[in-house]
Each structure stands twice: as C-alpha cells, then as structure tokens.
C-alpha cells in the first residue's frame, strides 16, 4: 500500500532524485484526495484547475465525442499523472476520470505548480519534464493512429480487394505519373 501522508518516490519514481527537503516542498503543495469506486474525479468539459498524481487504486480515462458513446482512452495505475493539460492551458477537461476501485490521489493546483516552476523548485521542474514526456508519447501514439486512420480511409476509397474500377484507377494514376511519354 502506498503511504497516505506523503508523495512517496516508491510510488512516483519520477521523484526518486529529490531530496527530503525537496519532497517536503512538494508535500506542501499537494492535497490528498480520495475517490470512491465508480465516482468521477473530474468530467469531460469541466473547467480544469489542477493535475493529479495517482497514489493508489485505479482510474479509467474515458471520453466521448459530442455526447456520443464513451470510449476508454486509458486505464491508469499508481504512479500515473492525470489532468496535466489543465496546468498548461486554460481549457475544459478533454476527458472524464473515473475511479475503477477506490483511489487516492495528490492534487496540485495550476497556481501552485506555476509558482513552483517560477521559483525553480526541483519537484516542479521534474514534474514538468515528466508531463512533457507524457504529452510527447501521447502525440506519437496519436500520430500513429491518425496515419492508420488515413490509410483506412484510402482503403475505403480504393478497396485492395480488386474492384475493377479501383484497379484501373490505381493503374491510371501510376501510368500517368511513372510512364509519361
């Protein structure tokens, strides 16, 4: 079980390099939050003011498009960061976070985080780098999915199964680009 009184480097390896005093500065800024199984930590569209560090339990991140059915985007385990977009930009929550089992989290407000970054506190810099890494990884995943989606869209236009019209269309394009004379 993760300790409840402090942000433990055992649960959050990203803080492994921080000294005790630096961890204490972080603890000052972090507020403990408990969410019961089935309850939402925040909802898509809410105004976001803080990020969370998941200390215990499990949280599912879901989102829907224009009120449609919800799609599960991620299932997070202890050590995860969530809601990080809110401390970077003032925008509504892009997803809903629901506790799958009872969860405990550390909440850090946008203003606390920004003050700490401005004050060059190491925990904030470490966290900022970590958020940047998470966003970068997510962007890479999204890019991959986007490419796959574009490829699927093309597939729909040009079924590779060999409709004759599509075959001729592909041939036509190739002839007109590769074999100009």
């Amino acid at each position: 079980m993760a300790p409840t009184d402090t942000v433990s480097p055992e649960v959050f390896p990203l803080f492994g390099s921080l000294g005790a005093d630096e961890l204490a500065l972080l603890a000052d800024r972090a507020t403990a939050v408990a969410v019961a199984a089935g309850q939402a930590l925040f909802r898509q569209g809410d105004r976001g003011e803080s990020l969370y560090l998941l200390a215990a339990g499990r949280v599912e991140v879901v989102a829907s498009e224009d009120g449609g059915p919800e799609h599960r985007l991620a299932t997070l385990d202890p050590g995860a960061i969530l809601g990080e977009v809110a401390v970077l930009i003032d925008a509504p929550r892009t997803a809903t976070a629901v506790a799958v089992v009872d969860a405990r989290l550390w909440e850090i407000s946008r203003s606390s985080f920004r003050d700490a970054v401005a004050g060059n506190q190491r925990w904030a810099v470490v966290l900022l780098l970590s958020i940047a890494r998470v966003l970068a990884e997510r962007l890479a995943t999204v890019d991959g999915r986007l490419l796959a989606a574009i490829a699927r869209e093309r597939e729909v236009e040009e079924p590779s199964g060999g409709g004759r019209v599509a075959e001729l269309e592909r041939l036509r394009r190739r002839l007109l680009t590769d074999w100009t004379f």
Binding site: G162, R164, E167, L168, R172, L175, W179
Partner: protein
C-alpha cells in the same frame, strides 16, 4: 512468332507493373471473324476458302492492319499479327488500334478474275465488321493496290462511297502519294537517327539490305540517295555485293519494278554472296527487310553491323536479340522501324476523310516528323530506364494502349 510477341509484351508489362488482369485484357483480341469464302473458279468448279479478320484492340481508335493471301494463313498467325499492329500504331502514336486479316489460298494458282471474285466475296462476308470508323484493311503479303481497289468498290456498292474503308489504294483511286515508299522511307529515317546517336552519319555509312521487295528496294534506294554506300543486297535467289557500293538506282529500275531476281545482275566489282554472308557483312547498318526469323542464335554472333534496323516483321528471334544486345549491337525493333507504312496509311485515311489530297512532299514531311517524334519517345525510355530498344518500344506502345483503356474505362 506469336510466342515471341507475347513474350515481349509480358516483359514490358512486368516492368510497367500493369498487373495480370490488365495484361490479359491487352493480350486478348476483342473479336475474331472466320468466314467461308465461296467462289466460282474459271473452270466452272466451286471452291471454298477460309477468310479471317482478327480485331485485336480498338482502345486508341478504329483498327488497322493488312490483309494477306497465303496458303499458311491461319487464326494463330493472324491473331499475333493483329496484336503487333496494336503496338505498332501506338508506338508511332497514330490514332488506330490493331487488326489483321487473311485468306488461306495460294494466289499463284488463281487467275486475276478468280482473285477479284475472292476479294469481292470476302468483302461481302466481312463487310459488316469493317468500315472507316471500325476497321480499315490494307495491303499485305500477296495483296496490293488492285486488291484494295476491289475491296473499296465492293464495300462502297453496299454501304455508299467509302474510300476510307481501306488504305494502300491506287494513287488514282484516293490512294496517297508516298504510300508505296513509306515503309522504306521510315526505315531509312530511323537508321539515320540511330547512326547519329552513335556518333556516326548515314551519309558516310555502309549498308546491307536483305530483301529487295517493296520495303527493301525503297530502303536501299533512299539510303543511297542520302549518301550511304549500299554494299550488299539480296532477294530470294541470293545476294550481290560490292565493296565500293552497288548502283542502287539501276538495281531499283531494273529489278524492283517489275520484280526480277537479282541473280542475273552483272556489273564491275560485283560478287555473289549468300544470305548468311550478307547478314555477316562488315557494315554500319544491317536492314533485314524480307522474312521473319532470319537472325537466330546460330548466326547472330557473327553480325558485324553496329545497328540492325528491323524493316521486316520479327526478323530477330529473342535468343538472337539477347546475343546482339550482349555484343553491343543496337537493334531497332520492327514496331518502330517499319511503322512508316502504317503511318502513311493513316495519312491516306485522313485524306479520304478530309476529301483533300496532300502533295508527296507534304506526306514525306509528315512521315519524317512522325518517325522523328517516335524515335525520340522510345529513345527517352531507352536512356532513362536503361532498357534495350525493343523493350522500350513495347513499353511505349503498351503504355499508350493502357492509358487509352483506363481513360475510357472498361
């Protein structure tokens, strides 16, 4: 021969990655017509001949191809020749597809009257399948301007005056100036361009011509008129050679019109040579202008010419082609080299459709322009893709037909 053409098409198709279905579409003939042609012989008996017309591909326009009278004519033969016409018209970019026809008969055994009745009956039977916008026959082996005149007349009786239904007609009957010399003229144009590419010049080149029929005699005459030294020519009876150059103008006058065997030709410095010796002559340009399959794997290794210009259809077997390529001999393929004939056939058709007569100078100028453009197009593929001339020419032909096909849709 049919296997060879198919092999060249498959090779080009593979390089172009056309795919097996499109390749199959392009190889297959659109329509094949077999007709019985009964006539009354001069002795009162009836004879029935078999006539063929294979319409290979019409993607690029009305189909065009010769009509031959020969005992060995059969469906396979005609089919392959029809396919060849599709690629040939495409290589020189005249707006025609390919067709070919024939009647299995030996014209030597038929009187002029019997030939006329045969031609007219065949035209009646095949009439619904041909036409100025559908399929336009032309002279071929053992057929000539007179046969075309009979066809035009017979067709016009039923369908109204239609000079554009056949080409190669007599000049006095809506034929074109320059048609007779056209294939030979195209061959010489190609030889001149090929030599120039190799840093040489036709005006200083030596030439050997196998065959002294319509194509060979005009090729020899025009080459010599442009300064080339024609050192050897041959016909079915053998060849003659002269290191300092033959008097081609005299040969042309005395042996080409009317045809006579060269065997009795006498002149100072002229010696007799065999067909094989002619093929192996030490010349810049070798022009096989007679039969198919004369350059084989047995004799190709001894060819000394820098350039072989295929005036005949398929004079080089694929094995010989590879041997010549390996020895650095440039072989300009039939579908480019001898396309001057179909090009001027196209001009004849254009004049018939226009109802306007072109001068011989105009015909020759347009022919030269077509042969120059076609040579340049194939050359571009040769250079850019590092291919031999035959493969490049088939790629140009296949590419144009494939483009027309996909533009039109199936």
């Amino acid at each position: 021969m049919s296997d060879d053409v198919e092999r060249y098409i498959r090779r080009a198709s593979e390089i172009m990655d056309l795919g097996s279905r499109v390749e199959r579409l392009l190889l297959m003939a659109e329509e094949e017509h077999h007709v019985a042609v009964p006539i009354e012989l001069d002795n009162g008996e009836m004879a029935v001949f078999t006539g063929y017309r294979v319409q290979h591909n019409s993607a690029r326009g009305p189909m065009k191809g010769g009509l031959r009278f020969h005992p060995t004519v059969d469906a396979d033969d005609v089919r392959a020749l029809a396919s060849l016409m599709t690629w040939k018209t495409a290589v020189v970019n005249v707006p025609f597809g390919g067709a070919k026809g024939g009647i299995a008969c030996d014209p030597k055994d038929l009187s002029s009257g019997e030939l006329e009745r045969l031609t007219r009956k065949f035209t009646q039977r095949i009439g619904p399948e041909i036409g100025p916008q559908r399929d336009i026959p032309a002279p071929d082996v053992n057929t000539n301007a007179q046969v075309m005149a009979w066809m035009m007349d017979e067709y016009s009786r039923r369908y109204g005056y239609s000079p554009a239904v056949v080409t190669g007609k007599p000049v006095d009957l809506q034929g074109s100036e320059g048609r007779e010399a056209a294939t030979g003229r195209g061959v010489v144009s190609i030889a001149r361009q090929a030599l120039a590419d190799l840093g040489g010049s036709l005006s200083t080149a030596t030439v050997a011509v196998q065959g002294f029929g319509n194509v060979g005699s005009f090729a020899a005459l025009l080459a010599s008129e442009q300064g080339a030294r024609v050192v050897a020519v041959s016909d079915a009876g053998g060849g003659i050679a002269c290191r300092t150059g033959l008097d081609v103008a005299r040969l042309f006058d005395q042996y080409a019109r009317p045809r006579r065997l060269l065997a009795d030709y006498q002149a100072e410095g002229v010696e007799r040579v065999s067909q094989e010796e002619l093929l192996h002559a030490d010349v810049d340009v070798l022009i096989p202008a007679a039969l198919g399959g004369v350059l084989t794997k047995e004799n190709a290794g001894a060819v000394r010419a820098r350039v072989v210009v295929e005036a005949a259809n398929a004079p080089t077997t694929p094995e010989a082609d590879d041997i010549l390529a390996g020895r650095g001999v440039t072989v300009i393929p039939d579908i480019l080299a001898n396309a001057g004939g179909v090009t001027v056939s196209y001009f004849e058709w254009v004049q018939n459709i226009q109802g306007f007569r072109w001068s011989e100078e105009h015909v020759n100028r347009e022919l030269e322009s077509t042969m120059t453009a076609s040579y340049a197009t194939v050359r571009k593929v040769v250079v850019e893709r590092k291919l031999n001339w035959r493969t490049a020419a088939y790629i140009v032909g296949l590419g144009r037909v494939a483009k027309a096909t996909v533009h039109r849709g199936v």
